[in-house]
């Protein structure tokens, strides 16, 4: 068992020496014990039950709202002329964006050989999948008649007797998001198999042995298996990297391919991807700070990990801020009066409050991460990251609602009013997300033990 050393500050950069990725002098068994300890404990901490109970309550609210929606139709939402895309698409883009940080950590940082990713990638990938589940819910129920959802796919049915329109960005979205969800699950599960095997080998209960035995597929850690596994992992990372960029690019096409002023811009794909990573990292920090505190994982998820993520948050936040500025420049430079009006209206029209919430939360507030104390103090960074996610939700709100409410026909201009179903579904989607995440923390390996061990300094390094 590892002896808990006083926590070192590993946030100093010394050119002559790599900062340790893991603190507390943990050896291989120590890493295993720390991570498995979460799941081997007889009872999870009380707060776990509180969080799970709250999350399940919200999940039931969500279920009630979805049931109400299915029985009564999409008219229970506030979507109406001219804002036919209301909160559902705002929530969809918000959640799918959050998912992107997980893939970035697991795939892109893997390809760049950023070893610090190993402590956080498992939880971030889980977050990706749960966020994509939440995201998929909204367009899923938005189609109205969910029982014919398969019309979205090119499946021959006599009922419809027609193929989907492959020239529509909305169909690209179906392919992109479903591919993304599938590949994320494959990647997540494949990465987890060696750790599930660890669970299997330590498990004492019969049910646990059966379930984890099944899920670990008989993994033994054979060198021949590891060889193919590592290559497969690299290929999946190489596939997931362009995939994650393509997903939010295609999500942005939903807007950019249309002609509405404020949507019809070529800056959308990079701007959306940067915003997605921005919000996703904020969510990872928001989740991991309480988790590491609760489960005592400070030696594995160190302050340096959090600091690195905060630096990425600041960098992507400034990219998003640049995009906001460029949008205004292009609106002026294009000389198109509709475009100019759309952006003037965003900042100073009747949705000015949403626009300035967005700018404050996304551009101004993350600037505090220039100060080292701010980016190395866990409770403080959580507050900042919650603001970032509020800001990113408002970014999607601003893009969707302000543009639709001021389209080409002034006679149809209107002010969007969400209904209580809109509001409860957004809140309820957090219930779905946190239910899944809380269960994940309890029953699956929160940290990729095998990967952490792979980047640890060797006990007998020559």
């Amino acid at each position: 068992m590892a002896t808990v050393n006083p926590i070192l500050d590993n946030t100093y950069d010394d050119a002559g020496e790599r900062s340790p990725l893991i603190l507390g002098g943990l050896d291989y068994a120590g890493v295993t014990d720390e991570v498995c300890g979460i799941w081997e404990a007889d009872k999870p901490p009380k707060i776990w039950f509180v969080v799970l109970g709250a999350a399940i309550s919200l999940l039931m609210v969500l279920g009630g709202c979805v049931g109400h929606l299915l029985m009564d139709g999409v008219g229970v939402w506030g979507n109406n002329n001219p804002a036919y895309w209301g909160w559902p698409i705002v929530n969809f883009v918000f959640w799918v964006g959050i998912g992107h940080a997980g893939t970035l950590i697991s795939a892109i940082l893997f390809l760049f050989r950023q070893n610090w990713r190993t402590s956080i990638n498992r939880a971030a990938e889980a977050m990706t999948i749960f966020a994509v589940v939440c995201a998929g819910l909204f367009p899923g129920v938005h189609i109205g008649r969910v029982w014919v959802f398969y019309w979205l796919f090119p499946i021959p049915t006599e009922h419809l007797a027609m193929w989907p329109n492959f020239r529509s960005p909305l169909l690209w979205d179906v392919f992109a998001v479903s591919t993304y969800a599938t590949v994320s699950i494959l990647f997540w599960y494949m990465g987890m198999v060696p750790d599930i095997a660890t669970f299997r080998d330590r498990c004492t209960s019969k049910i646990g042995k059966f379930v984890y035995g099944l899920l670990s597929l008989g993994w033994t850690g054979s060198a021949r298996a590891w060889h193919r596994y590592e290559i497969a992992y690299t290929i999946l990372a190489a596939l997931a990297t362009p995939l994650v960029l393509s997903v939010h690019t295609i999500v942005s096409f939903d807007f950019a391919v249309s002609q509405v002023p404020g949507w019809h811009t070529t800056i959308f794909p990079p701007y959306f991807v940067a915003g997605a990573i921005f919000s996703g990292f904020a969510m990872v920090v928001t989740l991991l700070v309480p988790v590491r505190k609760l489960y005592g994982l400070e030696n594995l998820i160190t302050i340096r990990h959090l600091e690195n993520m905060n630096k990425i948050i600041m960098a992507t936040g400034m990219m998003v801020g640049t995009a906001y500025g460029i949008e205004f420049f292009i609106a002026w430079y294009s000389g198109v009066p509709y475009e100019s009006y759309a952006f003037y209206n965003r900042a100073f029209g009747n949705y000015w409050w949403a626009y300035w919430i967005m700018v404050s939360c996304n551009v101004l507030i993350p600037q505090v991460f220039w100060i080292k104390w701010c980016r190395t103090t866990p409770w403080f960074m959580v507050i900042i990251c919650v603001f970032v996610n509020i800001g990113m939700w408002f970014e999607r709100f601003v893009i969707t609602i302000t543009s639709l409410c001021r389209d080409f026909v002034p006679s149809s201009w209107a002010y969007f009013h969400p209904t209580w179903v809109d509001i409860m579904m957004l809140i309820g989607s957090f219930g779905l997300f946190f239910t899944l995440f809380t269960l994940f923390c309890r029953y699956l390996p929160v940290i990729a033990m095998a990967e952490v061990k792979g980047v640890m300094p060797r006990p007998k390094d020559h």
Binding site: Y28, A29, T32, W147, V148, P154, P156, A161, M162, W163, P164, N165, F166, R167, P169, W172, F175, A176, T179, T182, V183, L186, F187, M190, P194, A197, T198, D201, R202, G213, L214, L217, G218, W219, T220, G221, S222, A223, R224, W226, H227, R228, Y229, E230, I231, A232, I235, L236, L239, P242, L243, S246, F253, A450, E451, K453, G454, R458, P459, K460
Partner: protein
């Protein structure tokens, strides 16, 4: 491991698979692997909680073919992705059209003049198909090449081996190896620094499936077959019962269809005396914007006119007088011409714009029969007259509006022309529903303008006079209409 089995590879209860040596750190494992390979062992494997650097060359592991499998699948996916979109949406290359060939026509809608199939629009979906197929190929290919899932493995029976997924490192030399010898191999392993050595034995006593499992699986399979069999049976049979409607959508709605009996009952009697679903507006109700109280503007009848006898509306004659000649002349003597206005209503300002407007409307609605110059020689009229001459049709010739009965302001005041356009006359149908009120007055103005130009029928005039007639025509009407008149129509 049981002591008595130590020196026999196989007994009746178990079979020796190999020797498993434990090492405490990755470096010793790599060294041991290297030495095992140099000693000539080939059927070896190492086990570690994480991929150990340098173990592949130490064990002599060849590079996997997995990347090439994925590449093959990915290249195939390019064609599958593009082909799927071409088949379902495009298919308009040259003469080939998916409209006729496949089962489903697809979305062959022309949008902004764009082609049905174009590469840029089909790249995103193709890309996603490539990524999805490659990811499946990677994931399933890896497990397949690793011969996993393998849920029963004798290695898991070694208690020490449980730490292979935690913090210990193992090297196994299989009994199947040619170099393998129970005693000397164990000695070698010890020499290479093994911390402990275990036998891996396959238990031969419980190799068979539980006897109940086969029966259980068979019954399960049969039960699973029942639903599809039932579905296919139902699909292949006829039935008098209505088909199963799982999702009603909006097929049954709580509403009444037009022209049906009202279901609303009260005291066992229909609530509405006429029993109809469709209800007429309440007497005296006026639809929004349709209060046409100003008779001068809307009917062409003087506002101070008081009918002496009950006003017979001319509508009665519409489309019923086929065959009657010149309805205006044989009109009932009761018609009081004095009731029609002789001036344009005050809402209508007669100016050039109005006449121009009237010309456009006249050419659209009236010229087909009356002709562009109002000589009664429109194409429809010509054709109908020709047909009537052969006895194939009955036709009352369209009137020339230069006819004295029409142009005479006393016999045919402005209001009566307006009324004729609105409600029709003789065989002429009513145009009140097609042409708005103001446009009908514009046509009246244009008709009066045409009559003022004094174009005469060209039947009896020579070519020269015909030319003069054209010059006298102030309007833009082409003279060709008059020449057309002389041409026989087929």
């Amino acid at each position: 491991m049981a002591e008595e089995n130590k020196n026999s590879n196989t007994d009746e209860n178990s079979k020796l698979i190999g020797l498993v040596a434990q090492f405490d750190d990755p470096e010793s494992l790599v060294q041991a692997c290297d030495q095992a390979r140099q000693a000539g062992y080939t059927k070896t494997d190492a086990f570690s909680p994480f991929p150990v650097h340098g173990i592949d060359p130490a064990l002599g592991i060849k590079r996997t073919i997995l990347p090439f499998i994925v590449l093959g699948i990915a290249v195939g996916a390019v064609f599958i992705g593009l082909g799927m979109q071409w088949y379902t949406n495009g298919g308009s290359l040259g003469e080939f059209s998916t409209d006729e060939s496949p089962v489903f026509p697809g979305y062959r809608f022309k949008i902004s003049g764009k082609p049905y199939f174009s590469l840029p629009a089909n790249i995103p979906v193709t890309f996603e198909v490539i990524v999805l197929s490659s990811a499946f190929a990677t994931f399933f290919g890896m497990w397949f090449l690793n011969k996993l899932p393998m849920l029963s493995n004798p290695l898991h029976r070694i208690s020490r081996f449980k730490r292979a997924t935690n913090d210990k490192f193992f090297l196994m030399i299989e009994q199947a190896d040619e170099q393998f010898d129970r005693g000397s191999t164990e000695a070698q392993l010890n020499e290479w620094g093994a911390v402990s050595i275990d036998e891996c034995r396959r238990d031969l006593t419980d190799n068979n499936l539980p006897s109940w499992l086969r029966l259980f699986a068979l019954m399960g399979a049969i039960l699973l077959l029942l639903p599809p069999v039932a579905i296919f049976r139902a699909m292949g049979m006829t039935s008098r019962a209505p088909r199963l409607h799982v999702v009603p959508d909006m097929d049954w709605q709580d509403k009444s269809k037009t022209q049906t009996v009202s279901p609303i009952m009260m005291n066992d009697r229909y609530l509405f005396a006429d029993e109809r679903v469709m209800r007429a507006p309440v007497d005296g109700s006026v639809a929004r914007g349709q209060l046409d109280a100003d008779t001068e503007l809307y009917q062409g009848i003087k506002s101070d006119y008081v009918p002496t006898v009950s006003l017979t509306t001319p509508q009665g004659s519409v489309r019923t007088g086929l065959g009657t000649q010149d309805e205006a002349e044989t009109a009932p003597p009761a018609e009081d011409v004095s009731m029609y206005v002789t001036e344009f209503p005050k809402e209508i300002t007669v100016d050039e714009a109005l006449v121009k407007r009237g010309q456009v409307r006249f050419n659209i609605y009236c010229a087909a029969c009356h002709g562009y110059a109002a000589n009664g020689d429109g194409l429809v009229n010509q054709r109908a007259v020709a047909l009537a001459a052969t006895g194939k049709a009955q036709w009352t010739s369209a009137k020339s509006l230069h006819d004295a009965t029409v142009s005479n302001a006393e016999k045919n005041p402005l209001g009566r022309i307006f009324e004729t356009i609105s409600n029709g006359r003789g065989t002429m149908g009513p145009y009140g529903a097609q042409i708005p009120t103001a446009d009908r007055w514009a046509i009246v103005a244009y008709v009066k303008a045409l009559q003022e130009t004094g174009i005469k029928p060209v039947v009896a005039v020579s070519d020269d006079e015909s030319g003069e007639g054209s010059e006298a025509n102030d309007t833009d009407e082409p003279a060709t209409t008059q020449e057309d008149k002389t041409q026989p129509t087929p």
